[in-house]
Symmetry: C2
Subunit: 300 residues, 2 copies
Amino acid sequence: MARSDTRYREAYNRILTYCETLPPKAPIPSETRLAEIAGVSRTVIRRCLTRLEELGLISWQGRDKHLLRQPRAEDRIAVPEAAADPSDLEQRFLDWVLRFDVPANTPLSVAELSRTFEVPQYDLKEFLAGLSRFGLVSRRPQGGWMLLGFTKDFAIELSDFRSVLEQNAVSQVVEAPVDHPVWAGLAQLRADHLALKQAIDRDFHEFSKLDERFHQTINSVVRNRFIAEFQKVISLIFHYHYMWDKTEEKHRNAAAIDEHLAIIDALEARDAEAARDAALRHLRTSKTTLLSSLRHHDLG
Amino acid sequence: MARSDTRYREAYNRILTYCETLPPKAPIPSETRLAEIAGVSRTVIRRCLTRLEELGLISWQGRDKHLLRQPRAEDRIAVPEAAADPSDLEQRFLDWVLRFDVPANTPLSVAELSRTFEVPQYDLKEFLAGLSRFGLVSRRPQGGWMLLGFTKDFAIELSDFRSVLEQNAVSQVVEAPVDHPVWAGLAQLRADHLALKQAIDRDFHEFSKLDERFHQTINSVVRNRFIAEFQKVISLIFHYHYMWDKTEEKHRNAAAIDEHLAIIDALEARDAEAARDAALRHLRTSKTTLLSSLRHHDLG
DNA sequence: TTTATGTACTAAATAATTAAATGCAAGACA
DNA sequence: TGTCTTGCATTTAATTATTTAGTACATAAA
């Protein structure tokens, strides 16, 4: 019942690797130096040295440390399997919510989620605390957490907020210098949109990816930590719902392609007002799509 | 080493209060009913009932429960001092950061913060995890947390983000129906601004409060959980820095009053474009002020 | 004087533990 | 017979205790 000693184990192996580079009988550097090499504190280094001495790899008396023999493969210490990295927990969590269409006001059990995602409970708690800032989850008075999201109100507010951010992004694109990578990106996007428009009867479901790329390109111009954080969540949610609402998908995607092209036209003409108008039209369509996809889920 | 039984203790006292309303020898409702009354689970209610029986307050056999005597003051159970409520932890934390001018890239010790704010470490971790979503703090590789905020970049990005949100708010105010409370608020603000303008030589430091109220009023029109969450943080940061930058405070505040009045004029004339222009001018001034206050802190 | 180690203390991560919640089955009562 | 209630068992969550790791200072060696 205490923290794991992974840090020590990893440091130990790193020190072994370092020792392999030393000539036989070489003196071992100071604790401080080793701490720098392994990127840990002296406390950990001393544990490593103790073990090295016990295994007869080094002699250690006072400040006199010498390598006794070359490290072998079996000297290495086992490092516990790195748990599924919690870095993309957000992606996987939202994926789970959206894929299984978890309804609003579902109580979330940390214990259960911890099993599902194979992530320690405390990582999850930290993660949920973060999401609560976005109003996606909240604490329940009896303890535990509750999924709030994906009500109609949520969708409306999310769409509105997205509109605000994207209107701003569009304004910034117009101001971007000619050598900004966004222009190359938009040129490519125009070509890809036109290509898909030709093959829309067959490849209409390819649009979802293109849509995501389109919005990402436009937003890439905005360098803002606050906005960037939100964009990740927003794009994921829209991406999924867009994919799932199958009603008139082909027709809807064809229309969206034209809306995108209108935005690209206005941007390349550096016409701020026209671009904002075109973007607004497109975002309104998106909002409607998101809302209708929610409605279908509710009914079905 | 386990969770506290505060919940049980509070529930017990609540049940006592309920019993006081009952006539002598009255039957006690079912466990489920009591659970509803006290807002806890049946498990807690059973602990309460056990104690009530032990103290001879009730008889309890099977599902037959009767009140034996009226509860007295000394029957109440002691509830551990409610720790300083963690709800306004955010306020107090930001207050601390800003008041002591904690520099960027300061390591934050959960243990120390826990003592400072008299909040369990547990709560703090959750809180910091939330703040990390706003890019105010981040995890350190060696463990622990680190305060990121209040560099120049941070201030710029925060200001820009604020501009985006407020431009949007201003656009919404113009569209607000005539009976919306914002119009009364603005009328009052106009009067207060004019009054302060008269007495600016003496009361110029009163402006900070007025500024906060002004921005709050405008943003109150926007009903959006995402934006609301940010506004709290943003307004606090600007509020403090505004108060502290003493350079030319009087002149600066006088100018800001005029900028506010210009915005109010445009809003009341329902002139969206003029309002956005006026807001933009004011937000640019604010940004400059925030940046210059940072510069002074760096030099001092 | 400088640098390394010894020692002591502080802090963070996390498993263990108890409080609380919940689900299910059987019994009581109408 | 059906509904409400309680008894029992299991699961979950909050919080502490404990171990690992980091850090500061004293002391000793070079």
